[in-house]
Structures are given as C-alpha cells and as structure tokens.
Symmetry: C2
Amino acid sequence: MKWMEMPKPELKKLFDGTLAAYEGRKAKGLKLNMSRGVPGREQLALSNDMLTILGEGDYLSPGGTDCRNYGGLEGIPEMKAIFADILDIRPDEVIVGGNSSLAMMFDNVAVNMSHGVRDGEPWMRQGRVKFLCPAPGYDRHFTICEYFHIEMIPVQMTGDGPDMDMVEALVSSDPMVKGMWCVPVFSNPEGCVYSDGTVLRMAALKPAADDFRLYWDNAYTIHNFSGPRPAIPNILRECEKAGNPNMPLIFASFSKVSMAGAGVAAMASSLSNCEYIRKRFFVQTIGPDKLNQLRHVRFFKNFEGVMAHMAKMADIVRPKFELVQNILQKELGGLGLAEWNVPAGGYFVSFNAPRGCAKRIVSLCKEAGVILTGAGATFPYGRDPWDRNIRIAPTYPSLDELREAMEIFCLSVRLAALETLM
Amino acid sequence: MKWMEMPKPELKKLFDGTLAAYEGRKAKGLKLNMSRGVPGREQLALSNDMLTILGEGDYLSPGGTDCRNYGGLEGIPEMKAIFADILDIRPDEVIVGGNSSLAMMFDNVAVNMSHGVRDGEPWMRQGRVKFLCPAPGYDRHFTICEYFHIEMIPVQMTGDGPDMDMVEALVSSDPMVKGMWCVPVFSNPEGCVYSDGTVLRMAALKPAADDFRLYWDNAYTIHNFSGPRPAIPNILRECEKAGNPNMPLIFASFSKVSMAGAGVAAMASSLSNCEYIRKRFFVQTIGPDKLNQLRHVRFFKNFEGVMAHMAKMADIVRPKFELVQNILQKELGGLGLAEWNVPAGGYFVSFNAPRGCAKRIVSLCKEAGVILTGAGATFPYGRDPWDRNIRIAPTYPSLDELREAMEIFCLSVRLAALETLM
C-alpha cells in the first residue's frame, strides 16, 4: 500500500515502530563515512603489486627515458598510449599530468580566467562567465565554478543525458556561456550514459562564444560493473566532423583504477589545443612524476591489461551495488515514496526522496552514525530545488557495514517521509 | 699579460691559434646539453633504493594513514615534519604538494591573479602588477612573471644578496609591487648566500602594498658542497617579529635531493596563510601523492637522514665544481677577460664574460656541440644589459664530458673576446 493513501492512525503506528527501530540502530553507535566516492580496501588491494613493481635499478621506460630525472612534460609515450586506447584517440592527443584530473580541470579554468582560451580575452575581463551544469551532477565541478565566481546554470538531466534543447538554446544564444561540465559515461551521481543523439548534438553545438568548451570528464568510461562497457560516439572525432575541433577538453584518471591518491591523470584534446597546453606546462611545472607512470605501464602493460583489471574491479563493486538495490527495494519498494536509479557502472546511486526530505534524511543518518554526501551537494550552489536528491556512495564500506548503513538509511527515509505525511 | 694590453699582431696570432684549437674540438662532434640544472646519473643513483623501498602491502604511513587512498590534502605528517626540520619551522606551517615546487609557485601567482592575496582585490583588476627580480636570477621565476604579464623590475645582486636600498625604496613606494623572488641560499645562478643584514631588512620591509609577498624559494638550503650548511636568519620568525607574519611564502623541494622528477615539493608560511591555501586545495585537488611521500619518509627517515644523504651528494657534486674552477682558472685566469663566482653550494657557476660577448660564446659553444643556458636567460625578459652573464650547470655531464665541455667553453670565450679586441 502506498503511504500517501494510508489513514492517519495507521501512519502514526508506522511512525512509532519506525522511530523505535531507528533509535535501536542509533544506540549501536555505528561510525561510517560514506560521503565521497572512495574506493574500498579490496579495490585498492587489486593494485598492491604496483607498490613493488619497480625492481632495483628499474627506472628506464620501455622507450629509454630515465623516469627519475626532469623532463617529459606530456608524460612517457607508453602511458600516453594507454590513455589513448582508453579514450579511443591518438597518443599525441593526450597530455599526461599528475595524480589528479580534478587539478587539471581546475588548472584549465584558472588559466582561462587570467589568459582566456587560447590567448583570447581573459574571462576575468569579459564579465561574469557562465557554465552549464547538468544537475544532479558532480559537486567538485560545481565547487570549481563557485571558487572562480562562475555563474552556474543548472540543466535538467534526462535518461539520455542533459536536456539538449535547453543546452542548445543557452549555448547558441549567450556568449557568456563558456563551458559545460559533462560526465558522459555513468554520470555522477545518476549513472546515466549519454545517448548517441545527445553526444552528436553536443558535438554539433553552435556556441555564441568562440571560447566555449566542453569539459568532458570521462571519469567512469571503463567503470562498467554490470554489462558491457558502453560505447558512445567519440567526442573528439564528432567535434572535428561538426567543425568544432577544439571544443572538447577530455579528462580521465586512474584514481579509481589503480590507487586513488597515487594514480595518473590525463587530459586529451585536439593537437592544436595540446600544443597550447604544452607551452603553458613548460612555464608551470618541471613535468609529471614519470616513475609513477612507469609503475602504471609495468603493472597494466596495455589497454587489455587495464580492462582485465577493471573486470576484477567490477566483481568487487557489483555486490555492493546489488546490496544497495536489494535493501532499497525491500525497505522502500512499492511505497510510492522514493525513486532511485539502477546504474550499470560508475560510483553512485542517485536517490530521490520525497520532496523536502533530503536534508532531514541526511541529518537523521548522521545522528545514527552514517555520514552521507550533504543533501543538495549534487546541485549547483548546493541548492536542490526540491530538496530530494541524495547521492549514495557504496564502494568504501565493507558489505556488512554497507548493509547496516543502508538499513539506517531506509529507516531514515521512512521516518522523514512519515514526519511529512503526518 | 692582460689581453687588453696586447699589441694587435700578437692578438692576431693568438686568434689564429685559438680558432684552430676550437675548430679541432668542433670536429670531434661532441653532443652535450648543459642548459639546465639537471642532476647527473650518480646523484640520482643515490636514491635508487627508493624505487624498491616499499615492501608488499606497505602503504600505511607511520601514523596509520592509508597512503593509497584519497585525502590528506597537506601531506602526511611525517613528510611535513621532515620539511619543517629542513626549514626550521613547525610542521603545521608546512603544506606538502606534488613533485614540483615550480608548480606551487605558478599556482600561487595564478590564484592571486584571479582572487587576489587572501581574498584581496584580484591582481587582474588592480592594473599592472610588478615583481622585483634579483638579477642575475632564476629564469623560471622570470618566465612565470612573463606568462602572467607581470612587470619585472631587475634588482642588482651584490655579494650580500639583492641591493636592499633599491628593494626598500621600490617596495615601500609602489603599491603595484606585489612580490619579489628570492633564492636566499646559494642563489641561482650566483651561489650567493643572503647576509643576515639582507634577510633582516627583507623581513622588516614596509610594503606600500598590503598584498606584497616574498617568494622565498629555498631550493638549495641543504645543497652546500664545500663547507658547512649556511645559517641565515629564519625568514618566517623574523617576519613575525617585524610585524609582517604573512609576508613570506617559502618553497622547497626534494627534486635535487631524491629523484628530480619524482621528488616531493612543499610550501610553508604562517598558519593563517596555510589555512587559506588549504581551503583552495580542497577545491583544487584530490590531494598529493602520499605513497611517494611515504617512500621519502621510509628512505630518509628524518632530517638527519636527509643531511647524511646530502653529504654523499656533496661528494659527487664537489669534484665537478672543482673541475670547472680549475679549467676556468687555467684557461682564463689572469687574462683580465672574465669573472666567475666560486660557489660553496647550489647548482651553478655564474660566469661574466667580456661585455657584449655572452651571446656569441653560447653560440660558439652550440656550434661545437655544447648547449648552454641561453645568454640573457638569467635576466628578466632575457635581457642582460651587458650581454655578459652565462650560467654554467656542471652537474649533469660526467667528469670527462664536463672537462671537454669546459675546454670548448673556454676556447669559445677566448675566441669571442679576441673577435672583440681585434
């Protein structure tokens, strides 16, 4: 029976029972932080051999580079080749960076503020820059915009990706729209894979601003855990065909493939964009840590090695996502209270609570020892217009911890819903 | 006999002999790049054990941090402690970064352009920012200024550091002077150690701009190779005493201690500056590579370990600097042509050729297969007003290569001088 249709006295009885169950759980004093998409121990352990993969005197890349010394601003060729295969582009379209693709995104925005895009007018001198932000979306993208006082325009997500009618209308009409965040495969948090139509329309945008860029954060392209790796059109090639060769800036990272804090990040773009970036890198840095790239090259060997590794990763991650689905279904299914997605990859389950309940649920969970991502974090400025979206990040806890946490979560959802209904 | 006093026919004879010797060397077809301060093979080999220092399952820091995972924006405490001891400050005044202190300097300037210093007026909105640039100085500092269109004001170096009369006059009178580059110990390229008086006057500056900062690049503080480590006053403490607690931004790095491209960099400043930087780091990055910090902590253990390592480093570097001095003295001593410094540490010998000859010498060396740092690179905008300063970087070549290169260098100096005299 849907709770909306339930008579008050029954709701009251339900509330009392739920509250008692919740208080019981709370008394157990669980402490669990599920606020970020952090790999769990077993996932990290998959790459433990990387700790010892370099032998004595083992510092030359296959191509003969001394990875200990300075130089190699774009990374060693073998690491570029692996990224190129993952992104289905050419190695010379890749620039390998440090351990953080977030830092590479921040850096690109920072430099556009002071220098403009490819020596265009600096954004700082153009007035208030705007970015389109598919929402719900990745909070760290939004934080970068906030930091640089970039106005964020939320774009509704659909099952096919961002609402392209809205995107086309905004991008083609407003020259202050300079960028758009995209997580095209297994979007954060919804696990959405952009449809072919969405990608093709994205590539064919006719921006009013000639310095408009797609920030194509392909963080989860190899993170399928249920079913095959999604194939979406190649954004670099499609943008070329559509006459927008320099529009996409692609980002990728090994943070959720090898070691979260000691992975390797990269960006990819047109040869001509890469040339611009290289020039800046010469001023900016002594170059990335090539020894860590060598560790990755030795450990993964090649694209096939990466994919074999990700198959093992999927086996670890899958049961956690299944557990989340099972508990949500068991505890909340059929009550007409909430909706959630069933992702085939990525790192999150996007949960839509009854309107006006997300903050309350997150707070109830916190009181009972489970820290979730803050309600609203998945929206620009932390403002979820309906206060309903919650990002569930199942990877970090063990299965036992996750079960307990999800039961507390479901109790909190029921409690918050009942408070509203009564 | 000084060449200036030599009669023309003798000069002609000397020229013919020198040219023949130079052509003979050129015919040997040497290929040697001495353009940058790059550690040589033996230096890097000192840290080779770092490649294999982490054992199986060896990823927990002494304090229990899982160095594989996300988090730890300021670095692991044990790495902070080592930097604190090197810089003689407290660990909480240190923020550990990635592998490049240059990147940390660039980053600080970049953020000041868009955000100002500590939420002050962004430099981009204040008009043309100026930096004081002791000259000769480090070309990469100058390149950062050029990139951000920061006007560079050269300040003459003296034996005690930058000309402080000029520094005080400029800093106290011009609110657009926002920064000054300092390499206080074994300055690049002159190997100058700032005197106590210079450091104290620096700390007591009364800047017209409240967002003025000292960029205190302490790159060579433990790089003494002849004699004890220089003790200069502690800039952080002296600035506190003088009422300028937030003025210094200190940078340091292991690039020339462990692996050049796979070292660990850090910056240090007042607690209150560190707090600001931490807030930005949260937006900017997933955090530094803590596994590489762990490698450093395991390898060096502590400050004493670092110093013992640097003593071995000195033994490798010293003979190269001695060789340079011997050849310069033998080939050019007493001729009244050139001057050069005799550094007790650092990475360079600063050579002053006859005026108007530096470009010609670098070009003659290049023709004979020896690439030097470009003439002028040690001055802002690459403009050496006397075209005489050349930076010699002796560390990278082997002793045999270095001998050959220095002989070619001296022949080139003689040739260029004779061309001018005749």
